[in-house]
């Protein structure tokens, strides 16, 4: 042991200095641990945790987006199918309505035609009556001019009417 200490002494070993250097190193170790390595590692860990959280959130959002897209597609498909049904139903309803309206129009037209026919018949009857009356008056007037005297109006009319009716 003494031999070893002698060798150490030859290369400058002194326990005072060695102890001082060791204490100095321990102080440096404490400073670096408390003020450098621990805070830096903490910051690095925090940042890595944030990055991991960010990636997790991204994956979560991606999954949620995919689900939302799927759901939206489902809703769109459902809406499309519902729309098609509605259009079909509207078509049917329109067809029904058109049929009903056509039927109604046809009925109305028939009614109008019937009415027109009736009116025409009435007009025809009236015109015939008017014609008869005019003819009687004309014949009476002609006969009066031929005969030269006024005959009884009522008797003439009855006589002429019977002739016309007989000739008709």
């Amino acid at each position: 042991m003494q031999f070893l200490l002698d060798i150490l002494a030859k290369i400058g070993f002194d326990w005072h200095m060695a102890l001082f250097n060791l204490i100095n190193f321990l102080i440096v170790f404490w400073i670096l641990k408390r003020l450098a390595f621990d805070p830096v590692m903490k910051i690095i860990d925090e940042r890595q945790q944030k990055m991991r959280d960010g990636i997790d959130n991204y994956q979560k959002s991606k999954t949620e987006l995919q689900m939302a897209e799927r759901k939206a597609q489902e809703i769109i498909d459902e809406a499309k199918s519902e729309g098609n049904k509605l259009v079909e139903r509207a078509h049917d309803a329109a067809k029904d309505t058109a049929g009903q309206m056509k039927e109604k129009a046809r009925a109305e037209i028939s009614m109008l035609v019937e009415q027109a026919k009736k009116n025409i018949e009435i007009d025809r009857q009236e015109m015939r009556e008017q014609l008869r009356r005019d003819t009687v008056a004309l014949v009476a007037e002609a006969a009066e001019k031929i005969i030269g005297e006024k005959i009884d109006t009522q008797k003439d009319e009855a006589y002429i009417t019977s002739i016309i009716e007989a000739s008709a």
């Binding site: 001082f20 250097n21 060791l22 440096v28 450098a36 830096v40 940042r47």
Partner: protein
């Protein structure tokens, strides 16, 4: 001669500048204190400037710390052990790295007090390398005792159990166990050798560097010393790294099971 500069070769022992009671205060100790002060100031800057969004300075520091963390993790083979050892191995690297490099700052070692150089490269003092190497090897022993227990730890050096079990099996197995027993005893020597090799490697490299620089400066004042000083920059960093990496490896070996060694 025009190309030669007379320069004094550094003595192997650091020079005492003054005494505090009976304690000598050497130029290497003063430089060690200067290194500590610089590390303290830089550490405070690191602490107060650390943010989630890093500045350029913080990025450089983080790259260094992460690089060290990966190095220690690779040596120890475990993330948890790497994290535990990082401050210690990092402190060794930073302290020795700065101690090695600070001597290369022009003019710093030329300051004199009472005719003696006021500051000296701290790692040129064997006391520093030896005290830290010894404390590191002792720490590995403590780590081993904590891991295996006192008897388990002693069992690594005195393999009596294996010796008895070997001879019970037969002469052949007994002979192999005897050889292993002797190897176990040699491991005690290797632990001492660790202290010597760790301390002398760093001290020898740095002291030799300074002596060679002085010799080169005396022979060729202009080109060659500057090349040598540039190479010393590399040596300073590498030696600090070697000291830290070996300490981490010793820790790993101390707590590793014998099967995995």
């Amino acid at each position: 001669m025009f190309f030669q500069v007379a320069s004094e070769q550094a003595s192997i022992q650091p020079e005492t500048i003054f005494l505090v009671r009976s304690w000598p205060v050497t130029n290497a100790m003063l430089m060690g204190l200067l290194v500590t002060a610089i590390i303290f100031i830089v550490s405070i800057i690191i602490t107060y400037r650390s943010k989630i969004l890093p500045s350029k300075f913080q990025t450089v520091i983080e790259i260094m710390v992460e690089g060290f963390f990966h190095l220690v993790t690779q040596i120890t083979g475990s993330d948890g052990t790497g994290r535990k050892l990082l401050p210690l191995i990092g402190a060794i690297f930073v302290f020795f790295g700065m101690s090695n490099l600070i001597g290369l700052v022009p003019g710093l070692t030329s300051l004199t007090f009472d005719g003696v150089s006021f500051l000296r490269t701290p790692t040129n003092d064997f006391n520093m390398t030896f005290s830290i190497a010894l404390s590191m090897v002792l720490l590995t022993q403590i780590a081993s005792i904590r891991h295996f227990g006192v008897f388990g730890h002693l069992g690594k050096y005195f393999k009596l159990k294996e010796l008895i079990a070997g001879f019970r099996q037969g002469i052949g197995a007994g002979a192999i166990a005897f050889i292993e027993f002797l190897i176990g005893l040699l491991d005690i020597v290797s632990e001492v050798a660790k202290v010597i090799s760790l301390s002398l490697r760093l001290f020898g490299n740095m002291y030799a560097g300074e002596v060679l620089a002085a010799i080169l400066l005396g022979a060729f004042a202009l080109a060659i010393p500057s090349v040598w000083l540039v190479m010393n920059l590399l040596v300073a960093v590498i030696q600090a790294l070697v000291f830290g990496a070996l300490t981490a490896a010793y820790f790993q070996l101390a707590v590793a099971d014998s099967e995995t060694q």
